[in-house]
């Protein structure tokens, strides 16, 4: 033993018991879906920039007809979680040398949803005690099974970190090439969560929202036999006007920002749950209808979110060949708010949104009823897809001029006053029947006159 060195050996225990505490169950399942989508990107040589082009196209059409698209099937029960796909599979050599490492090496190829090289492993460890992965590409195949509770016991050298892997035949065709991941002997907390009555719907919504752009263009996703419908961000454009739009590129990241008015929901109202900022990184929706400080709400010059903002909707779309440059965290459900690109983007978001807030503020004087105003706003906008909103490179929100009511020059003033004080004024003025509101008007006029303000 060389006494000039301290041990800095990675313990399995850290990765299995500690690392898994920073991520939620649903996000783990999303990480497994990311793995399937990365298989698709690898096998079909998809560029994530193509997805952006598609999202911002005037008339976006799916690249492959619906029925021909690869399928990802997610099933869960109290016994197991399974994600299987025909997205092209994991290459044997990739599995041997890269897929099970914690973190990527310096030669890591870019252009995938997988960023940090931890998502798949963290998900497997988070979910259960045992997993089995079987994968077939059109060139080779493999399977690996691991009893995590046994594997953790051997932790003396780097060799103990290897995972047994067995070669399997290649897939018969491109359509059958894919990966199946089965996690069994679920941890107790996972069992408790999946049997909750709301879990199914909650997971359905998470998948639907996170992959709405991927579902629209590349894949179909099923959750326990139910096909997931893509989520549509409820954007609209002022009739005859423009949305606020800005795009810029900085340090390898292309950022597109849109701010506009939302469309009404099915009940004909602005839905508070859908208002706010949507942040998308490489096509994956990271934040949905966010109204918190992370997207700038409450940080000047962005206002604190108030109910009148429920007709506001903004989209910040980040795209980079190297996903490490994007401002997402390892869970991909939050943003690294200190990221330089995000600090820049958040500034621009506030600026791009400003004309929309001015429009909303003018519509909502503080003392008016809200519903007629909502209807009034909705009349001047029309629903559009993302690409249809963006006509020129940069635009500033503008709504067509409407018949403006004459600007108000008066407002009502109401406050409590001591009855005895009002009585004193009545006596002083020798007007015993003078009403309280008249006294209010009189005293205001008195102040204005005596202070030389009138």
């Amino acid at each position: 033993m060389n006494n000039n060195f301290a041990s800095a050996y990675p313990r399995k225990n850290f990765f299995i018991q500690m690392f898994t505490k920073d991520i939620g169950l649903e996000d783990c399942i999303l990480d497994l879906i990311d793995n399937s989508i990365d298989g698709l990107i690898r096998s079909r040589k998809i560029k994530l920039s193509d997805l952006s082009k598609w999202v911002f196209a005037k008339d976006p059409k799916p690249s492959v007809h619906l029925t021909g698209r690869p399928v990802i099937r997610v099933t869960f029960s109290e016994d197991s979680v399974k994600v299987e796909d025909n997205c092209g599979g994991l290459d044997l050599e990739y599995a041997r040398n890269e897929a099970f490492n914690f973190g990527h090496g310096p030669d890591w190829k870019k252009g995938f949803l997988g960023v940090y090289g931890v998502g798949l492993k963290r998900a497997l460890f988070k979910l259960g005690e045992e997993f089995r992965i079987e994968s077939h590409t059109i060139e080779n195949g493999f399977e690996c099974s691991l009893d995590v509770s046994e594997w953790i016991k051997q932790d003396k050298s780097v060799d103990d970190w290897r995972i047994p892997l067995k070669e399997l035949p290649k897939a018969h065709s491109e359509k059958s090439a894919g990966t199946s991941i089965l996690v069994s002997r679920l941890h107790n907390e996972v069992k408790m969560c999946v049997k909750a009555g709301s879990f199914y719907k909650s997971l359905y919504d998470s998948i639907r929202r996170t992959y709405s752009f991927f579902i629209g263009k590349y894949v179909r996703i099923y959750l326990n036999q139910t096909e997931i419908e893509p989520y549509r961000i409820p954007l609209s454009r002022p009739k005859g006007g423009n949305v606020s739009y800005e795009e810029f590129e900085k340090n390898g990241v292309k950022v597109r920002i849109i701010a506009t008015i939302a469309e009404l929901d099915d009940t004909g109202r602005y839905n508070q749950a859908l208002a706010g900022w949507y942040v998308v990184c490489n096509g994956r929706i990271v934040l949905l209808a966010d109204k918190s400080e992370i997207t700038g709400w409450g940080i000047p010059p962005m206002p604190t979110y108030q109910p009148k903002h429920r007709c506001f909707i903004g989209l910040a779309f980040f795209q980079a060949e190297n996903p490490l440059l994007l401002p997402w965290t390892t869970t991909k459900t939050a943003l690294n708010k200190e990221s330089p690109i995000y600090l820049t983007a958040r500034d621009r978001m506030a600026i791009v949104a400003r004309p929309v807030f001015s429009f909303i503020n003018k519509k909502y004087p503080s003392d008016l009823d809200v519903e007629p105003i909502e209807r009034d706003i909705a009349r001047v906008v029309e629903s559009k897809s993302v690409g249809q909103l963006v006509s020129n490179k940069n635009t500033i929100f503008s709504a067509p001029p409407q018949a403006q009511p004459t600007p108000r020059t008066t407002t009502s003033v109401q406050y409590s006053a001591k009855i005895s004080d009002l009585e004193k004024i009545r006596k002083h003025l020798r007007k015993p029947k003078m009403g309280a509101s008249r006294i209010g008007e009189y005293t205001l006029a008195y102040f204005l006159e005596k202070e030389g303000l009138k």
Partner: protein, 315 residues
């Protein structure tokens, strides 16, 4: 707090000597900036011209600026503004200036003067923040605010502290106490707040920093603070090093301390003509023909080039 009556209704803008000295100093600074390669004549000037447009007239006549925008918040005087607009080239927008800032072109540089006649408010900070986020590199941002103690007569530093806490809480230094808001310290605390707002505003802009240039303190009645500087990229930062600071003795490197105090001695026309015939003279010089306090003589030596002359004209 009750806001004072609109200043354009209280005082004729053209007869505010200290304000006029400030305008002339700014004009001089802008001319010097032109001399070192800033194409000020191609800048857009955006200001709050009120009904007098004094700054617009000066900047158009003496700098050749022809892109001009005046923003007015008082919707009740739109016709009056348009009636008084001195040049056809001045565009007028009604509304909150902070709403106009994101609409300023990113393809040209700007001089933006946020010229208020009341104490700092949340809305003023909002405009400063928007400006520091939006103005392209090479642009000049100016802010004028009233730095008399806010509120009503009889109020004390504790009340003034509460006012600033309400309007600018996130930009105040931690653990401030009422003595930090003593009357004499109000200009400095305003400068600190604005400095923090601007630094917050440019946080997301990796390629720029704010270079302070102006920090004027003056009173034509109410004490006013006018601060500002340039949003600089590296190229502008280098170019600014050539600025003749000796000639522009009023230039300041900080918004928070050491303001240049504009003091305009009250002189008769005859006194002024005499003093002018003796200029230039260094500080410490005293007129021989009549009595003048030392500090008034010094002030005159400093600002004689900028001293405005008023006379009654019978039409």
């Amino acid at each position: 707090m009750s806001l004072p009556a609109k200043s354009f209704e209280r005082v004729h803008y053209e007869y505010r000597p200290a304000k006029q000295v400030e305008r002339r100093m700014l004009l001089d600074a802008f001319q010097q900036l032109m001399a070192i390669g800033f194409p000020i004549d191609e800048y857009q000037y955006t200001g709050m011209g009120s009904v007098y447009f004094v700054d617009f007239v000066m900047f158009h006549r003496y700098l050749g600026i022809s892109k001009m925008l005046s923003v007015e918040a008082d919707l009740e005087i739109e016709k009056r503004l348009k009636f008084n607009c001195p040049f056809n080239l001045i565009r007028i927008r009604m509304g909150d200036i902070a709403d106009q800032i994101p609409r300023l072109s990113q393809d040209i540089r700007h001089i933006l003067w946020l010229d208020y006649d009341y104490p700092l408010t949340e809305e003023i900070l909002d405009a400063v923040l928007m400006a520091s986020k939006c103005l392209p590199g090479g642009s000049i941002l100016l802010l004028t605010i009233d730095v008399e103690p806010p509120g009503e007569k009889g109020e004390r530093p504790l009340d003034w502290m509460k006012y600033y806490q309400q309007e600018a809480y996130r930009y105040l230094p931690p653990r401030t106490k009422p003595s930090d808001f003593a009357k004499s310290k109000i200009p400095a605390i305003n400068g600190t707040i604005i400095d923090n707002v601007i630094r917050d505003g440019i946080t997301g802009r990796m390629d720029v920093r704010f270079h302070p240039l102006f920090n004027f303190l003056y009173a034509d009645g109410h004490q006013m603070l006018s601060i500002g500087g340039m949003i600089c990229r590296e190229e502008e930062e280098i170019r600014l090093r050539a600025l003749n600071r000796k000639k522009l003795f009023f230039i300041r490197d900080s918004l928070c301390s050491n303001p240049y105090r504009i003091r305009v001695p009250c002189l008769t026309r005859k006194e002024r003509l005499y003093l002018e015939s003796e200029m230039p003279k260094p500080r410490g010089w005293k007129p021989k023909r009549f009595e003048l306090k030392d500090e008034e003589a010094d002030d005159y030596c400093d600002i004689y080039r900028y001293y405005p002359a008023y006379t009654e004209m019978f039409l």
